[in-house]
């Protein structure tokens, strides 16, 4: 029982982690907190849904198409919304992304309606026996895909030239610029990557909670995850997401009714009081 609760917590935590990862990537690079991350996830998942349901594309190609469209959309948002705001106060940028989130949600509702949908992702929902615990195949899928994605991103940021230049730009924009790194292009790519990650999160969330124009609100849970991990740390986002997911899951079973919904926020407030820089956060002084 306990292990099952933990495993389902890890699975939902992985989704929080992927959304938090989107927050963190963009924040690291451009110090923008993208409050539209959850809504990008919604669009990504709905693109897969449309391709599968309306255009009868098999799941894998449908997924790839959605990822590509989302990458373009991410770049577009950066070019049209964020670039004109470069140099503006953080407040303006936050308002812009909140507005973007509302806009995306409304457009999503207009296109796909306000109903709830689902699509067959070829993932069956069978319990799988692993020793004494029965794990769900969906949970295993979610955890496996998340791990794969993290490994891929880790490799990308540490081993490829583009990735390293992105890492450099996020650490020190001016120095990176002076070293000949196209900072604008880096930002644009970061937006593309986080939109792609959002699509993966959306597809993984669908078997658990279905598609709905307001599914992006799950992003609100990812925010404490990102803060917990130390806003700006990729491993932090992952660990933060999983901690939130698991603790929420346990709170739902062992604490009185109502704690489950607010548990993520209790953790958030606790972290801000005790260790405001988060678990993996470093005291950053370079930006001061």
């Amino acid at each position: 029982m306990f292990l099952q609760i933990v495993s389902s917590g890890i699975a939902i935590g992985c989704i929080y982690a992927l959304i938090a990862l989107g927050f963190v990537l963009i924040y690291k690079a451009s110090e923008v907190v993208n409050f539209a991350q959850g809504d990008l996830m919604m669009i990504g998942a709905f693109l897969v849904y449309s391709a599968v349901t309306h255009f009868h594309v098999p799941f894998i190609p449908a997924f790839l198409i959605a990822v590509i469209i989302m990458a373009v959309l991410g770049k577009g948002i950066d070019r049209l919304l964020l670039r004109p705001l470069v140099g503006e106060q953080a407040f303006a940028l936050i308002m812009a992304t909140i507005g973007l989130g509302i806009l995306i949600r409304s457009i999503g509702g207009m296109i796909w309606g306000y109903d709830t949908f689902s699509f067959q992702a070829g993932i069956t929902d069978r319990p799988v026996r692993m020793g004494s615990v029965a794990l769900s195949s969906v949970h295993i899928w979610i955890i496996a895909v998340t791990l794969l994605l993290i490994v891929g991103l880790y490799y990308f940021f540490n081993r490829t030239k583009t990735g390293v230049s992105m890492e450099a730009a996020s650490q020190n924009q001016l120095a990176a610029y002076l070293m000949g790194i196209g900072v604008k292009k880096v930002f644009s790519n970061i937006w593309a990557i986080s939109a792609m990650v959002a699509t993966v999160a959306g597809v993984l969330l669908t078997p658990l909670q279905f598609l709905n124009y307001n599914m992006g609100f799950v992003g609100l849970k990812a925010f404490p995850a990102a803060v917990l991990g130390g806003f700006g740390s990729i491993p932090g986002a992952i660990v933060g997401g999983i901690i939130i997911g698991v603790s929420e899951s346990i709170a739902g079973v062992y604490l009185p009714e109502g704690f489950k919904e607010i548990f993520a926020w209790i953790i958030l407030i606790g972290v801000l009081m005790i260790r405001p820089e988060g678990i993996f956060g470093i005291q950053e002084r370079k930006r001061v």
Partner: protein, 400 residues
């Protein structure tokens, strides 16, 4: 002398008017020689616009049919629908507009019990009936309010019957029951029904509320499994049942499910997907007939109207719901007779004794009874669809 003559003249004039213009002297607001004005308030643009539109469309179609047949006692029905965007304050504005500017005869079909409660004092002060609110909340009919006529079987009744079904029909004398419900008025109504049933049979119930809009039911399902719950009685809408049943599947947990009426839709089963293959022990308390299989004359009439007028959707339960609401109202107007008044309509409704319009559960109203529905139909899932398990309607013997 002159005063007496004037009095005589006035009396004569009054007698003249009363004798030769009966329509004028007895005319009720909203009723003319050839028209009855009816006002409805349903969401047409807000969060549940798809529901409001389906219901009002169904009613419109039946009124169109009746008007084509010559109306009620020669009067055509003029059905005016106002949009409240599912907001009680706007519903109150709408009711003011309908009663003062349009001068409707009665308010018919209001979507949302909060809306009904908000507008009721205005209607009561003017003696205007509020007929057939499109809700199943217990407080619409209990305690009875003179001008408010609820037709639907309440959620409390549904909760009672759900438990009664397990114990009496299935013969399971000591089931381990959990009640999952949305933590608001309709959900509480259902829980109250389950509580009443549990008290009647001396059972304990594990109560698990959830917040409106919840998408994660992992902990509720884990608790049910852990406590060895055999029967889950749940009040939810459309998205939640699928999530819960899939979650149970992930936990390898197979309870018997009984859902309240709002979850008895195709969409719910569609979303549940392969969870139905895993566990198809799924039931529901339905307030209407099995439209796909029952062939009552009324359901046939809906189909005929759709064919005749070229619009409408037979597969949309809420369209059928709006259609049958209009049938019940027209039955009341018919019974109220040619000299139609509001008090007359109320008297007419109070004569409804097990009135069966062929779609909704039969309605019984009386001088001190305003919750009309006393029965439901048990539905079960077979081959991925909802099927009625019985021909007639099921009443309860459990007292409150």
């Amino acid at each position: 002398m002159s005063i007496t003559r004037r009095t005589v003249f006035l009396i004569a004039a009054a007698i003249f008017v009363l004798a030769f213009c009966p329509g004028l002297s007895l005319a009720e607001v909203g009723v003319t020689k050839d028209e009855i004005k009816i006002g409805g308030i349903l969401d047409q643009s807000g969060p549940i616009a798809f529901m409001g539109k389906a219901v009002s469309d169904g009613s419109k179609m039946y009124f169109q049919y009746i008007n084509d047949k010559g109306g009620v006692h020669g009067r055509k029905i003029n059905y005016i629908v106002e949009d409240d965007g599912y907001q009680p304050p706007r519903a109150v504005q709408a009711v003011k507009k309908l009663t003062s500017r349009d001068q409707v005869f009665c308010i018919f079909s209001v979507l949302g019990s909060a809306q009904c409660n908000a507008m009721y004092p205005i209607l009561e002060s003017q003696g205007i009936p509020l007929v057939l609110p499109a809700t199943q909340n217990q407080d619409m009919g209990v305690p009875p309010r003179k001008y408010l006529f609820l037709g639907d079987p309440t959620y409390t009744l549904q909760g009672k019957i759900a438990l009664e079904y397990i114990v009496e029909d299935k013969g399971i004398k000591s089931p381990k029951v959990a009640c999952i419900f949305q933590d608001d008025t309709p959900g509480h109504d259902w829980r109250n029904g389950v509580r009443i049933g549990a008290r009647h049979y001396g059972l304990d119930v594990l109560e698990l509320p959830f917040k409106r809009g919840s998408v994660d039911f992992g902990s509720q399902m884990a608790k049910c499994k852990d406590e060895g719950v055999t029967h889950v009685l749940a009040w939810a809408l459309v998205r939640e049942p699928g999530i819960m049943m899939k979650e149970a599947q992930r936990l390898n947990y197979k309870p018997t499910w009984i859902w309240a009426a709002p979850s008895l839709s195709k969409k719910v089963l569609e979303l549940a997907g392969d969870a139905l293959d895993f566990n198809s022990d799924i039931y529901g308390t339905s307030i209407w007939s099995d439209a796909a299989r029952d062939k009552t004359p009324s359901l046939q009439l809906v189909q005929d109207c759709i064919d005749k007028y070229g619009w409408g959707n037979y597969d949309e339960p809420l369209f059928l719901y709006g259609f049958q609401s209009a049938m019940t109202l027209v039955e009341g107007l018919n019974r109220a007779g040619k000299d139609l008044t509001r008090e007359g309509l109320i008297k007419a409704f109070e004569t409804f004794d097990n009135y069966d319009n062929g779609i909704l559960a039969p309605i019984t109203w009386g001088p001190n009874k305003r919750a009309g529905g006393d029965s439901v139909k048990m539905f079960e899932v077979k081959d991925g669809e909802w099927h009625a398990m019985q021909q007639g309607w099921r009443f309860t013997t459990i007292k409150d």
